[in-house]
Each structure stands twice: as C-alpha cells, then as structure tokens.
C-alpha cells in the first residue's frame, strides 16, 4: 500500500490551476499566486491534511470490461437486429448494435462503469414477406 498525503489549500493558496509557476513539493500542494478574479470559493475553513491509502496498481478507471454471452432466440424470423444496452447517468446507453440470425451465439466485450450490474439485450425481428414484427428482451447480469 502506498500512501498519499494531500494538504488542502488555505485560502491564500486557492485556485492553483495547472501549470504556470506553481510551487510543488512531494508532500503538499501549493499553487499559483491567488488570482484576483476567480476566488469566489472559501477554502479557509478546512486546511487539515487528508490522506488516501492507494492500493498497489490501482487503476482509478471507474470502468471495467465485461464479456456478454448471448444466444439469439430461436423463434425469431426474418431480419434480426439486436442491441445491448445499459443504463447510467439517467439514460439508456447503447453499447452494441448488431445483426444476426436465430440461434446464433455471440460474445461481446463491453466497457461500462463499475456501477452497472446488468444489461438488457433487445432483439427486433422483421419478416418482410409477411410484414411480421417480433420483439424479445432479455435482462442479463454482468
């Protein structure tokens, strides 16, 4: 385990921003001289150091790759489109859109937020000869 020590900024060190004359050490963070136009926040109330124990090789990515295995339902006829969708940030997110045939087996790698624990697979089939539409939906845990 590695340990990170970050000393919060006092108000006169506020608004560090990125590069441009900052003073840095390995133990605390300093900043540019305080600008005159953007110091509307007040950080003076909390200047105590905080710490994070960073696990070895932690990747900070907040996303992970998951394999989704599925079989296209056998009862669908005609052109079969399907999609894998997850839901986060308050909306349906389409992860994969494909086309296949009944009983086809597929594996698709998706890269989703680690907060997602299931996805939907929606199958849409349309038979041009008969004008018949079919819809099938599966919920899959990941």
């Amino acid at each position: 385990m590695k340990r990170l020590l970050v000393v919060l900024l006092s108000s006169f060190l506020l608004a560090c921003g990125g590069g441009g004359g900052g003073v840095e050490t390995t133990t605390y963070v300093a900043s540019d001289p305080a600008p005159t136009t953007d110091t509307s926040t007040d950080t003076s109330t909390d200047t105590s150091p905080t710490t994070i124990d960073v696990p070895e090789d932690f990747d900070f990515s907040n996303f992970h790759t998951v394999s989704v295995d599925f079989t296209v339902p056998g009862g669908l006829v005609g052109q079969i489109d399907y999609k894998i969708a997850g839901e986060w940030d308050g909306q349906v997110q389409d992860l994969y859109i494909g086309r296949g045939y009944a009983n086809q087996q597929r594996t698709v790698d998706i890269n989703v937020p680690t907060t997602i624990d299931s996805v939907r697979i929606e199958y849409m089939a349309f038979d041009k000869n008969s004008g018949t539409a079919q819809v099938s939906i599966d919920e899959v845990s990941i």
């Binding site: 340990r3 990515s61 907040n62 994969y96």
Partner: protein
C-alpha cells in the same frame, strides 16, 4: 454484392409511351415540413404552390403530368415526393446518416364537383421497429422511415439528385384526374418516438426544424431510390461495392441486399468517458483533475465477420483550469493497418433548436500505411481553443457565473482492409495530454509513452530523456484519471478527495465500495450540473 437499378427493364418501352403524352419535371416546393410540437406537421397546399405554376390550372396540370408519368413508366398511379432529411447531426445521427420516421401521411384532394378523396396509403423504401411516445421497447412495431445524409458525394448538377435524400410514394387512384381538382393538400406527421430508449428510436427521432420537399419526376425518383442515401455512402456510383453509412437497424425494402455494419460504443453510442489531468507532471498538482477535462467516446464498426472496418468518435473539452496550454490526443493501437483518417473541429454555436457546430477550418484527411498506432491530436493548443470567459481566469473551473461549452473534435478512421478486432487496443484506449509548456506527455496509469509522436509529425516529448515514463506519483496517485458521468468538475483548488467525500473509501477498498462515489459530491465544491452542461 452488386446493386441493380430499380425498374431498368421495360423502361425504354415505357418512356416511348410516355413521351407521346407529356414530359414531367421535378418541382422543389416552397413549403417545408416544419415542427409542430415534437412531430412536425404543417399542411402542404399544392393548389397554392407557386413553384408548380402561376395558376391553379397550371399547378394541377403539373401534378397530373407527374401522375401520368408514373403510370407510363412504372404502371403505378402515384405521386413521389423527395425529402431532404435535415436532422441535427448529434447523438447517433451523423452527417453521413440521419433519419426520421413517419407516423402518417394523408393527401386530401377536393375535386371541382365537390367530391373529396382522403388518401392515407404511402410507402418508403425503409422501415424500422420503433416504440412511440412513452411506450417501452417491448411495444415496438414497424414504421416507414426516411433516411438521408448531409451534403452529397455526387454533384450531378441536379438540385433534386444532390439535395434530396429519400422518396415518399403516395398511390393515387387512376380515376383521379388532377386537372379536375381544386384543392390538393398534403399532411405529413413524423413519428413521436420514445427516444429515451436509445437506438433505434434515438436515431429516428425528429429533432430539427424543417425537412425540404420536392415533387419528383420518375428519373429523379429512381436516382434517389438507387442512391439509398443514409443507407450506403457511395450509392451514386453503381460500379463500386456499396459502403454502409452506419444507420442502425435499417429494414430495407429494396430488392437487393443492403450492406450493414455492427457498432460497439465505448462507453456507449451516446455516453462519454470523462478524463481529467493534472498538468504539473512530474510534480504533484492539486488533484482537482480539472487542468484539462475532456469528454470522449469511440465507436468501432464491425463487418459481419466481426472484423473492424471503421472507427469513429468525438471529443469535447469540458474544463481548462490551467496556465499551461496543451494538446489532447487519443491513441489507438491496431497492430498493423492501412486506411484513411478524417478529422473535423467544431466550435459550439447556439441556434433556435439548441447548439450545433460551426466548423473551424476545413475537414482534413490523411492516409496511414502499415501503422501499428493511430495517434489522433484532437485538440491542439487548448488555451487558444478554449479560452476563459470574460471575468474568469480559467475555463469552467473557478466559481464564475460564466460557463462556456467547449469545442468538439470528430474523427472517422476507415480501414482499406478490415483488421482483427483483437488487435485493437482495449477501451478506454489511450487519451493523453501533451503539455506544450513542459514538453511532457501525461497518460493514464499503465499506459506507455507515445513512441511514434515524431513519426506522426508531433513534437518530441522529454519524458524518455528525463526518465519520466510512468504516470503515477510516488504515492501511487495518477496524473490522469478516468471518470464516469455524472461526475462534474471540481471547483478550482479542491482535491478530488475533498470535493467527492466517497472517493477515499472507493480507492482504499480497491473500488469494492462506493463505486458510485462520483454521484455524491460536496455540492459546494463542484460545479452545478443544472447551470453547466458541457455536452452538445
């Protein structure tokens, strides 16, 4: 797979028959189908349409001539409309493919004897399974659709062939002679889809202000039917193998099979990765990860053999809390490949229906040969591209009242020959920063230096020369961090652990707890999402 022209056979004979009757012309209509609520509905009055003729008799004669031509050429009594699909090129709709769905079409004809016809049959050459209103995905049913693209590859010299996209056919009973009509009014209602379901609904939603219309003669109609704009990219050239335009879940009613491409979205077709950087590398920063924040997504197109044919994506600058200026890159590993990269940059521009892009410069195209990496410089000189609003030192990081939407970069990579999907580097790929003031590259933890920078024509970084080849500090903390929406930028100077109190337990448990730490900020230390919307 080859395409055949529609109704080539028998046309010579039919045209001889028709030429003895009259000659038809296409007419661009002055009225457009405009928004009415969410679906667009405004009557088109052919009997008042000056582009058809100066008098009622001339206008009705024009309609009758078009109807008779279709009888002669295709043995069908009908009118064919051309539609210029003019949707906003955002979300899943792109410049090369965009669409609307039709709920209903009605042609009302009043004859001079007082009789009235209400014609409600219509057809197009594409359909889609869609859910309407607030209905769920399980209620999807088939609707006719209109697809198109922005601009045209072909310049035929004909406004009808170049400008218009899809055809809409309305059968007309053979006993109707438009010369005896006094009122001919068209009603078009676009489908109110439930776009919250994502695709295909999101692709077929009606989002823009108007769609131009034309009445087409047979030649123009057949040209557009064969061109299949929005379905294939090169339909204007029948000698070429068709290239799919990328429209999702199109049901083509054409006789010939249309090509198709599958899409994997990273992280999704409408969502974005967010990546934030600390640009004082290799010195420590303030860990607010707002020195530059970029939203980006990548879509990978696969053929039916699951080989990669195309990669496209976009990126938007979200914050720039830095004195330094940077270049933002996205690097993809591919093992080996040849192809073409097309890139465009846009600045946001407000308009009546939201925000659209005003292109900066021109679209650039470059080829790559035997490349093992594709290193895209999405944003060059961020300080110039994304300046602070007046009264603020930085862009979207101080607690100023002013927020600005950042520029958008769009890229499209097409491979001459498909490459193995397994050879593509894993998502989220390598979004990295080059700090112009220090000549340092900053990558995510675990990524390597961009070894081919100079070969790609970019400046050499000093990372290798100074031994700075890894991207975690001595405490294991990153200089670039992946973030998930709805993460909002921190106020300048507040470290992530303070602005997001659950961040520390998330890290310390190796991500096994508080996975959604970014949903619970200290609201006094992040920018408010109700006042700052970066996506456009």
């Amino acid at each position: 797979m080859r395409r055949s022209s529609v109704l080539i056979g028998a046309l010579a004979t039919a045209s001889l028959l028709f030429s003895a009757t009259s000659s038809a012309l296409s007419y661009r209509l002055s009225e457009t189908v405009q928004s009415s609520g969410t679906t667009g509905s405004k009557p088109i009055k052919f009997h008042e349409e000056l582009n058809l003729g100066d008098t009622l008799a001339a206008r009705m004669q024009a309609l009758e001539t078009l109807r008779l031509e279709s009888v002669a050429m295709e043995s069908e009594s009908k009118l064919v409309l051309g539609v210029d699909v003019n949707e906003a090129a955002n979300a899943t709709e792109k410049a090369e493919t965009q669409a609307v769905a039709l709920d209903s079409v009605r042609l009302d004809i009043t004859m001079n004897d007082g009789s009235v016809y209400n014609l409600t049959e219509f057809s197009t050459l594409t359909k889609a399974l869609l859910a309407t209103g607030k209905n769920g995905a399980e209620t999807r049913q088939d609707y006719y659709t209109l697809l198109g693209s922005t601009g045209s590859n072909a310049i035929t010299g004909s406004v009808f062939k170049d400008k218009f996209d899809s055809t809409l056919s309305i059968p007309v009973p053979e006993n109707i002679d438009f010369n005896n009509a006094v009122d001919v009014t068209l009603h078009i209602d676009f489908l109110d889809v439930n776009s919250k379901l994502g695709d295909p609904e999101l692709f077929y939603d009606y989002t823009n202000g108007f769609e131009d219309l034309a009445l087409l003669d047979d030649a123009d109609a057949r040209y557009l039917d064969n061109a299949a704009k929005g379905v294939i990219l090169n339909g204007d050239d029948p000698s070429q193998e068709p290239i799919p335009a990328g429209a999702p879940m199109v049901i083509s009613l054409r006789d010939q099979q249309t090509p198709y491409v599958e899409w994997i979205g990273y992280p999704s077709s409408t969502g974005y990765y967010l990546v934030g950087y600390e640009d004082l590398y290799p010195s420590l920063g303030d860990y607010d990860f707002n020195d530059l924040t970029v939203a980006y997504r990548v879509e990978v197109g696969l053929d039916l053999n699951s080989q990669v044919t195309q990669i496209r994506g976009e990126a938007i600058l979200v914050t720039r809390g830095a004195e330094y200026t940077h270049d933002w890159h996205l690097r993809l590993g591919i093992n080996s490949g040849n192809g073409k990269i097309t890139e465009s940059l846009y600045q946001p521009e407000a308009y009546e229906f939201g925000v659209r892009g005003a292109q900066v410069g021109t679209t650039t195209t470059r080829n790559f040969n035997n490349a093992s990496q594709i290193d895209l410089r999405g944003f060059a000189d961020t300080k110039a591209l994304f300046p602070a609003p007046e009264g603020c030192k930085f862009t979207n990081t101080p607690l100023c009242d002013s927020y600005v939407q950042g520029p958008k970069y769009i890229f499209n990579i097409t491979f001459n020959s498909p490459i193995d999907f397994a050879s593509l580097s894993p998502a989220p790929f390598d979004p990295y920063l080059y700090v112009r003031d220090t000549d340092y590259e900053i990558h995510l933890i675990g990524e390597s230096l961009a070894a081919q920078r100079t070969q790609m024509g970019y400046e050499k970084s000093q990372n290798a020369d100074t031994g700075n080849t890894t991207f975690a500090d001595e405490n294991g903390f990153p200089f670039g961090m992946m973030l998930a929406s709805p993460w909002m930028p921190t106020v300048e100077g507040w470290s992530m652990e303070v602005s997001y109190p659950d961040f520390t337990p998330y890290v310390e448990t190796r991500g096994n707890s508080q996975k959604d730490w970014y949903k619970r900020p200290d609201s006094t230390k992040v920018h408010p999402s109700d006042r700052f919307t970066w996506r456009w």
